[in-house]
Symmetry: C2
């Protein structure tokens, strides 16, 4: 073999590359886009595999639509004149039509369902996961590309379809690794909020919005703060005044009673809500839907510790037409400064009966649940269940002698045949860099097959897990290196068994 000529060649290529293009591009990912390494990829794949398994067992079929949709099919983000509105990544196709990258998985589902409605099994139950794109200003933890995972039922107006989505979402989150009881799905209904407005005598749309904005601040401000915002207004710590919704005292108390009706027990919440808003047509309708959801959840064995009615949940009012869900992680985590913070929402959804009608003109009932995959991965980390932390590197077979490469390859093949990841070091460096390589790869072990070992029919194994554990404890690294803890020379036939012991201990 002629390795020196390879080096000559490499030198020639280097000279060529260095002179040919003095204006080299900078190697950098676009703003707001990230590269994900093994640990994150493995964690997110584990989530998606677990959740997909649950969704398929519930009779939801996978669907993958393309990255692009025509801009008119995406709805609110229509292009104006030369440049599309902010919010999506859009471009004009050869035939002048504007296309945009999907910003969620629901809009493509609505387009797909409308396009194929006649031939689909109905109700149509599908789940999907994949990247979505938002053309927004990136920031810390805020990316322009991220993965979502959705499950939706299109074509069933039954509240049981909502209940099923809720129960399945709870099961999916637990299958992904969230400890039982660590997440709660809070359920509200758009119709209850409308009923509340009737009961509180709020008819002006601007006033309605002010009331809902006040309710949405309950978590942060508490009932007293919300009471001010429902009335004349509230001055915050900095002295800034926020004008209130201008409700009468009685009306404000009714709104507060509504928001306080969440009681854990679902039937008790419904009874309290009926006291506050019963009698308004839309409120009664919402209560009837929640009663049906409660019965179905109970049939599915989902108690109020996993799915509860929470009238203070206000989300997606422009979008949802009935039931609304929000999954909240109940665990606390710590922020950058070490302060405990509530983790908060890890997903949500609801009933959106108007989306398919944009295409077909026929109202088509639909309901679904969506979560951000890396958001759930963060939640799992906060819960101490990071599926990526188990990521290990391969066993590295050390390469000394290029005339022995075939022997090293045979050793690696033998280890892989036992189902253990293994590779031969393919760089050109000596022993120390090879051990450093194995360490960087988080390899459990390095295998040495030198001339002595080949002659004696043995292999030498370095337990790198043990090495790492000792290195982190022993101050005198030099002494540790001298003693070579965790290094053993064993008959070749015992190689796989020895590696298994190291892996099992790791």
């Amino acid at each position: 073999m002629n390795l020196p000529s390879l080096s000559d060649d490499a030198a020639a290529g280097k000279r060529a590359a260095m002179t040919s293009d003095p204006q080299r591009p900078e190697a950098r990912a676009p703003r707001g886009f990230i590269d994900r390494r093994a640990r994150d990829v493995v964690a997110e794949r584990a989530i998606l595999a677990a959740v997909s398994g649950v969704y398929e067992r519930w009779g939801f079929e996978p669907l993958e639509t393309g990255a692009f949709e025509y801009a008119d099919a995406l709805g609110k983000f229509l292009p104006d004149a030369d440049r599309p509105n902010a919010g999506v990544f859009a471009l004009q196709d050869d035939d002048e039509q504007w296309m945009a990258l999907r910003y969620d998985l629901t809009a493509p589902l609505a387009r797909f369902a409308a396009q194929h409605w006649e031939t689909l099994p109905k109700p149509f139950r599908r789940y999907a996961f994949g990247p979505v794109w938002r053309n927004e200003k990136p920031g810390p933890g805020r990316f322009r590309e991220f993965w979502q995972c959705d499950a939706d039922t299109v074509g069933s107006a039954r509240p049981e379809a909502d209940a099923e989505i809720i129960a399945m979402a709870a099961e999916g989150l637990e299958a992904a690794g969230l400890p039982a009881g660590s997440a709660l799905i809070k359920i509200n209904n758009r119709k209850l909020l409308n009923g509340l407005m009737t009961a509180a005598g709020v008819v002006d749309e601007g006033q309605k919005l002010a009331v809902l904005r006040a309710v949405d601040k309950l978590d942060r401000l508490g009932p007293d703060g919300v009471r001010l915002l429902l009335g004349e207004g509230r001055k915050d710590e900095s002295g800034d005044f926020t004008k209130g919704a201008g409700l009468s005292g009685a009306a404000a108390e009714r709104v507060l009673a509504f928001t306080a009706a969440g009681a854990g027990d679902r039937a008790a919440t419904l009874a309290k809500l009926a006291d506050v808003i019963g009698g308004s047509a839309e409120g009664d309708e919402g209560l009837a839907e929640l009663a049906a959801i409660d019965a179905a959840l109970s049939g599915l064995g989902v108690g109020a510790d996993r799915a509860a009615f929470e009238p203070s949940v206000v989300r997606g009012l422009e979008y949802y037409t009935g039931a609304v869900f929000e999954a909240e992680l109940l665990l606390s985590t710590v922020d950058d400064k070490g302060h405990p913070v509530r983790f908060g929402s890890i997903g949500g959804g609801g009933r959106y009966d108007d989306l398919v009608a944009r295409f077909t003109g026929e109202r088509t009932p639909a309901t679904g649940f969506s979560f951000g995959v890396s958001r759930l991965a963060s939640a799992l980390k906060a819960a101490g269940r990071d599926p990526g932390k188990a990521v290990r590197g391969p066993v590295v077979v050390i390469a000394f002698d290029q005339s022995r490469m075939a022997d090293y390859f045979a050793v690696a093949k033998e280890i892989r045949a036992a189902g253990i990841a293994a590779e031969v070091y393919l760089g050109t460096s000596g022993m120390r860099p090879q051990m450093k390589y194995a360490d960087r790869r988080l390899s459990p072990a390095a295998v040495i097959v030198g001339e002595d070992e080949l002659a004696a029919g043995t292999v030498t194994i370095k337990d790198l897990d043990l090495g790492r554990a000792l290195a982190s404890k022993v101050a005198d690294n030099a002494a540790w290196r001298e003693e070579r803890p965790g290094q053993q020379t064993i008959p070749r036939g015992e190689l796989v068994a020895a590696l298994r012991r190291i892996l099992d201990a790791g």
Copy 2:
């Protein structure tokens, strides 16, 4: 519960939707983009899971980069003036920088490796899969978005790194389901082709290209046709004349001897090639590399039935700098008209030592293999190994009575708890449409829990597989329906066992 009010509501919504927007968008996927349903998704996921398992066992770590790269990082597709070159989907970011969707997975790897070179373990071994985008004219079987799966080693100039990629690709294709022996990885080396040019006395770049174009037609035209193209030229059946490369007879025979050197046995091929091109410096270098690849492949147990040297392989000449691979499916398939056709290439790769240097100015050796995921899925179908054909629908629990929904849900839950996909029908239709729904979902069975069954503690199961099998044989469908074959009423406690029997028989 108040279902009638739901219907009233739906009707009101329908009226509202039909009058509110007379200019409704058409529901259609963008040109060249497709929606993939369960069968395709399941088949492609099975491929990716199997191949990922192999690649990880070989010590390759997963990496996911974003959909976008800066256009300058993508290389040859740089934007000119207002509009980027054809070939990629590009758009200008807020900060005026041009971004483009990746057209393969290698360019993002080169960018990533250049960006993080100092901190990466070296050699850097990564695999990746995901969609890539080509802004080209779509056609039958030709899409503007498709999935690729790549494995690459960056930072090793060793021919053993090529050998490893080849052996791993062969194992990956077999793990995905290709029968052993149905695919062959053909290996060539760019340097051999350069050596051939020296040996045949071809120095003019235009003449070199004409020679390589002629060699590339060997499959289609055979040696006699290629001989004409190497010499003065060739007139085809339609009378069109293609000007030849203008080689002398002796030079043309040398080229033909080169292309005919592929002999199955790798060592024999190398010996023949040495006869034809030995003595040219670059040819000898290419031969030395192939000899090292041969030795490593033999150490890995990969015979010439899975990976052979084939000097007539000409691909990616602008791109590859050393070894070149092409995986070919040896099975024949039939075209639209029922004629047998060779399936051809299912993947390829090679050594590309110049790609990272675009950023860093330092030549960085790299080698890899790539395949199109749906192309491999088609190959598996051609080989009778379609992993998507096993896709089944869920067991459907028939819903008669809305006051009994909680009972139906409990039955579905029980079935799912046994690991069998199950759902309650959530539409509002009667028995016949529900059975049709189950049939469309390819459900193995429908479960009926009517008042009689509830009173008696039984369930009725319809074996839909049996029904479908009989329906395809029995002409008299009406008689078949009367007899209700495959329908059984059994104690509730035997439900799961009975469903298992149906699934196992299916």
